[in-house]
Assembly symmetry: D2
Homo-oligomer: 192 residues x 4
């Protein structure tokens, strides 16, 4: 559930850093979505917990909620097995699974760093990760692993009800799931 505590995050949720997009004619920035609640679903196409739970949930949000109020964005944050989860593979995956929401490809620097840039900026622990950003652009929920439809719906409903009042006060909170089940793909386990 949403909390309004401060955290180590910046005032605004970090902007997306992508190397490409699918299902949208042009790149999407968080800044361009001010006034909407943003559901950002970070996944990898070969992560079972994403394919079986996270992606279907994201598609349901995209199908059920009003796009004028709730912006749904997928983010392909590949942090392992890069050679088999490139853009060409992702395109096949998206077409075969009939996904229709816009999906950005998290920017990855082969030479410099282990994790893709947006993943790093958000300090994501692995995939699937669900992030909620409020109308003012603040990070309000950060969940590694699964979250129930009921609780996710309630969180979105709460953010939708907020008046848009730009604020300097950090209000982000991070829900870590230490006991996240085996179907998730954890950075800690795999990249160390």
């Amino acid at each position: 559930m949403l909390e309004a505590k401060t955290s180590g995050y910046e005032d605004l949720a970090p902007e997306l850093q992508t190397s490409g997009w699918l299902n949208t004619p042009q790149s999407i920035t968080l800044a361009s979505l001010r006034g909407k609640v943003i559901v950002l679903h970070s996944f990898q196409m070969l992560c079972p917990g994403c394919v079986q739970v996270g992606i279907p949930q994201t598609q349901r949000i995209y199908d059920e909620f009003d796009p004028k109020e709730v912006a749904v964005i997928g983010l392909h944050t590949v942090f392992e097995h890069h050679s088999v989860m490139g853009r060409d593979a992702l395109e096949v995956f998206v077409r075969e699974y009939r996904l229709h929401f816009p999906i950005g490809i998290d920017k990855y620097d082969d030479q410099q760093q282990k994790l893709p840039l947006t993943m790093r900026a958000y300090q994501m622990q692995g995939t699937p990760t669900l992030i909620l950003i409020d109308k003012a652009g603040q990070l309000r929920l950060h969940k590694f692993g699964h979250i129930s439809d009921l609780t996710l719906g309630l969180s979105i409903g709460t953010l939708l009800s907020e008046k848009i009042v730009p604020t300097k006060t950090p209000t982000a909170t991070q829900i870590n799931d230490a006991n996240y089940d085996k179907n998730g793909c954890s950075v800690r386990v795999k990249n160390t």
Copy 2:
């Protein structure tokens, strides 16, 4: 989803009219719950759509949401087969299915009328029916049949975000589901 249109309902959601309660030491009134969002789930213990979908959803709400903010109430609205869905049968059902939320028994007058009193007051079409009542006591959602966890969660989140401002303006809305699937138990089909 919630709507704020007027309807034929009274300003306040009709008070419960019960002949008994389970899972609570004393009777519950809607009036006593002002300030909370109320989830009222109307069911019959031998209605498949209730047993398979509605009741598990109600139990999930009861398990996941804060009881100080969201009051979950079951209502046994028997409108057919009264002889086999009496209080004794309901008690066995509730124990075997390990239901823990409070359940009222909708008052039924053998001699005078066809439908139990609360069911009549709400003009319910059958079971399962889900009703949301806001903090001020207004009826805000009335759904015969199933509603997704996402949309229900969003509706509850929206109501939780509202300031408690008593109002005279009717804000109720009724979502009827003309195409409700066969697992539901409809008054129209069975009681005419």
Copy 3:
């Protein structure tokens, strides 16, 4: 899985002892079904493990397999809460859940004994219980609790393949499930 060990059972599976039938114009005896593989599903209408798992599985068998080869029989073995699971309640249950396979009511003697007669004869531990009887009338599988569709299908396929050779050798086996999960209704827990 089927085993061919001997057990304390008689050569032939005990005959059904019923006080009535639903979904069939006349009583059914095991003896009348010689030459068919018999799937006997023992349940109680208010047992969650029966309603959620056992009965849907039985209905699938009834829908998928050839009735000329596989006879599907439900048996309502009420061993508790008799007053709310009588024939009238069962009739409502069967109609509401749209069950179509024949269902016998296990004979119960209010005065003399605790358990219904067929249940006693088979030494059932509770509900749901699944019993397979081969073409020659021998008890071949006795399972308290759940059994997967794959393993059940394989067992039925094995029995279907057997030639009908009446034999005096007891071949029954009993698969007890000591760790049967909480949704089942156990005689030991409830009737002692």
Copy 4:
């Protein structure tokens, strides 16, 4: 269900033609499995119907049935998007999904033909395809799309019950599913 009709197939099920194997130290031939019932599951790692239904079912068979009697083999029959479903991608998929049954890679000739060799020999229509081969090496069931656990279990049980009698009589049958649902990947739709 199994049928014993003749078909255009050869007496023996065509031998596998593979370019590599996973989850087994050495290549597997059908010939080496005589005496066992063989469950051959043909899939593509980016085919939703395979990932969501076919592969979990195959894994269940592998988990529940005795490997001394039932040999479970996966076959990666890629007929489209070869560049993103190569051996390296398959290895990641198999590891992430924790599949443990042996998986052969259907041999594909880039220059000469459209479909991989084993897929051609079996005239498969797409993925997922399930094939049952009896103890004598005859093709006995060929199913494009999904098959229920009950019916599949029954078919395997029937084949397990057969005596091993080498025969010259073709007994294969092919169950085509003209109305196979959209999650399957059909050759006709995609490769023409």
